[in-house]
């Protein structure tokens, strides 16, 4: 079994899982979602093995080019979903969230992404690569989770006015609460991985902990947006719609930090 076969197998699992969850969404029978959950779990295990193989083969952490990093982000997403679903039973969010994982996997396997493991440039040869990237991407996966539940909240709220029968299992209040809990996981992880570990590594590799590099600046902006989310919510008591909108903006900022900065703004992080 090679890494690419396992990657494909995981991809297929995620696809089947999403399909089952969509069936669940329309048929409203629990068993579809339960099978979907089992299959995404299987995909996650296979994906884990693929990442381990990649690490063993290349001899370095599996996030040094866009293919590896997208694959790892998809893996983090699967982890976040399994974790949040296990804890809060948010089956209705499943199909949408797994769709994000599938998009990430599809991007990773697109021919535009260089796949071959190249030897690492000097600055990347550090255990901080592990700590910095893995913790940051895990945090971002939880932001993605909050993004989905916030969007679902906004949709549910807009439907509330028209007399469509409310689904009992996932009330808007619960969606709002789950968004908050996801950010409560994502925010500390992002702070630790993205900002703190990033600063420590930058200090070790480049001799300064902060240099206003576009990637650094956008991480800070992301952090500020989620700080805004927390302050408006916890101190000013904003909930529901406005909170959900900030969570959505926050995720889009995180997405731009991860993806957009590399392609649109030049900087030291240009290798990834």
């Amino acid at each position: 079994m090679t890494e690419s076969t396992l990657f494909l197998a995981a991809f297929i699992c995620y696809g089947i899982s999403a399909a089952l969850y969509f069936v669940f969404l329309f048929r409203e029978k629990e068993k579809w979602a339960i099978t979907g959950y089992k299959i995404i779990f299987a995909g996650f295990i296979i994906h884990t093995i693929a990442l381990i193989l990649r690490t063993v083969e290349s001899g370095h952490a599996p996030f040094t080019n866009m293919y590896e990093s997208l694959s790892f982000l998809a893996w983090s997403g699967a982890f976040a979903y399994i974790f949040v679903e296990g804890k809060y039973k948010i089956r209705k969010a499943g199909p949408y969230f797994i769709l994000i994982i599938i998009v990430l996997m599809a991007l990773a396997s697109s021919p535009l992404m260089p796949k071959e493991a190249k030897p690492l440039m000097p600055a990347l040869q550090s255990y901080w690569l592990w700590l910095h990237v893995s913790v940051t991407l895990l945090g971002e996966a939880f932001f993605a989770m909050a993004f989905i539940t916030s969007i679902m909240y906004l949709v549910a709220e807009s439907k509330k006015k028209t007399p469509i029968k409310q689904k009992k299992t996932l009330s808007p209040e619960r969606l709002d609460y789950i968004s908050y809990r996801c950010i409560a996981v994502g925010f500390p992880l992002f702070t630790l991985g993205g900002l703190v570990f990033g600063m420590i590594w930058a200090y070790k590799a480049w001799g300064r902990y902060w240099g206003w590099d576009p990637k650094e600046v956008w991480s800070l902006i992301t952090w500020f947006v989620f700080a805004l989310y927390l302050h408006t919510r916890v101190v000013m008591g904003w909930k529901g719609k406005r909170s959900a909108v900030i969570a959505v903006i926050g995720f889009l900022t995180a997405l731009f930090t991860y993806f957009g900065v590399n392609y649109l703004l030049a900087g030291l992080h240009s290798y990834l």
């Binding site: 030897p119 600046v217 805004l228 302050h231």
Partner: protein, 446 residues
């Protein structure tokens, strides 16, 4: 004034302004030359430069925003901290029925057991759940305050304190930090500016991956003070050397092109009867005695390029296209004169105006590499790390060490006992409610 600075509305306003300003700095390239701005933005360029947008993160108004934000954090925390301390260390134990009922969780129930028995059971249950208990008796009733994880109340304050320390560290770095590049050839010693010691490069090597890309650079450095070696360490990327607040980083490398050594192979075109590699330095002459050939290596460029005026120059200091200008004399007649290219060995003959029986090839070169060491002194960095620790501890406390507070009034009512229970939690109400119900349940059972 205090009210203005301590309002959360100001925090929200400042956060939004800072987000917008910070974004602006990534949309407009920072720290370029005036010409570059003039070319890109035309008439707007002078405005952009004067307003500080082109050096946004160092501009007075951005720093003012950060200072305002810090003041806001300080006043917000100070106005609330006194109350918080009082609540944490000198809490009100006695409470009123009305207040208890106003808490978001509450319950009233009766027990047939006498008061001391009820109290004992309740306290046992609370203790088993990890609550710390304070109680006060009043005539026929007992007030109980049970709390756990009260440190969690200070989570946000710890985060804010951490942010302030990081900002202070940032200002210290920005105002008194110092950074300089020092280029050192092997065996060279240079004084470190603003200190009484020098830096010596003993050895420098570049390591390559099998595919030819650079794996690492290693510089063996010595700190020299009063002509004595104080310490020696080999540094590489990600592994700097620290000494008395100065940190020495492997920052780059380059080649010393003053007189590289080149290897040239001289051959006769007719057959393989003669082929001789010669090693020589640029600017030297070498005589091949047996054949009476004199090779004169005149110039070297690392990155050969022709200018528009047809002049030879080097595009960069990297050996992207190394070339040597060589003159060969055979029996005092010019047999070859022209550029030889390392990467294009077939290109030479076309450039030689003289057609002779000699063929020359540029095979290899050796130039001394120098190491670029970045010297940095950053007294703010310690503050930043301490601040980060505070931020992380604070975030953990704020999100995962949620304070729980339960209040009970146990009243004697004839032979029975009446219990009023109430609790409040800021976050994670669900978990708290579960725990609350559990405590109520089990204290009712007994």
């Amino acid at each position: 004034m205090m009210n203005f600075f301590s309002s959360v509305k100001l925090t929200i306003f400042l956060l939004i302004i800072i987000i917008i300003a910070t974004t602006l700095g990534t949309l407009i390239p920072q720290g370029r030359s005036p010409e570059a701005y003039a070319e890109k933005y035309g008439d707007w360029a002078p405005f952009l430069m004067k307003s500080g947008i082109t050096r946004l993160y160092q501009s007075p108004w951005y720093l003012t925003l950060l200072i305002l934000f810090s003041l806001n954090i300080i006043t917000c925390s100070l106005t609330r901290i006194k109350q918080k301390f009082k609540r944490a260390f000198k809490p009100q134990i006695i409470t009123q029925e009305k207040k208890l009922k106003a808490l978001n969780l509450n319950k009233i129930f009766k027990s047939l057991q006498p008061l001391p028995q009820v109290k004992e059971n309740l306290l046992r249950e609370l203790k088993s759940q990890g609550y710390k208990i304070r109680e006060k008796s009043e005539q026929d009733q007992v007030h109980v305050l049970a709390r756990k994880r009260f440190l969690g109340r200070f989570g946000s304050d710890t985060v804010h304190l951490g942010i302030l320390i990081v900002v202070i560290g940032g200002f210290i770095s920005g105002s008194s930090g110092y950074r300089e590049n020092l280029a050192l050839s092997p065996q060279e010693t240079k004084p470190v500016p603003e200190t009484n010691f020098s830096l010596k490069l003993n050895q420098f090597e570049t390591l390559y991956h099998p595919d030819g890309s650079v794996k690492d650079w290693k510089s063996t450095l010595s700190i020299i003070k009063n002509n004595r070696k104080i310490l020696t360490k080999t540094i590489e990327v990600n592994h700097p050397l620290s000494f008395q607040g100065f940190v020495f980083y492997q920052s780059g490398y380059g080649w010393n092109w003053r007189n590289p050594q080149v290897e040239i192979v001289v051959e006769r075109k007719s057959g393989m009867s003669f082929s001789k590699p010669i090693m020589m330095k640029v600017g030297e002459k070498t005589l091949i005695k047996d054949e009476n050939i004199e090779i004169n290596c005149m110039y070297f460029v690392p990155d050969f390029v022709l200018t528009e005026e047809n002049k030879v120059t080097s595009r960069s200091l990297k050996p992207n296209n190394p070339a040597v200008y060589v003159k060969a004399l055979e029996k005092e007649n010019i047999a070859f004169s022209g550029w030889l290219f390392l990467k294009y060995p077939e290109f030479d003959s076309g450039h030689s105006q003289i057609d002779s029986g000699l063929s020359l090839k540029f095979k290899d070169f050796k130039a001394e590499q120098y190491s670029v060491i970045q010297i940095a002194k950053d007294p703010g960095v310690t503050f930043v790390w301490i601040g980060c620790v505070f931020v992380m501890i604070g975030l953990f406390l704020a999100f995962y060490f949620i304070p729980r507070e339960l209040r009970f009034m146990i009243k004697k009512e004839n032979q029975n006992t009446k219990i009023l229970a109430g609790g409040s939690a800021l976050k994670a109400k669900d978990f708290f409610k579960e725990e609350f119900d559990k405590i109520i349940q089990s204290s009712r059972k007994t």
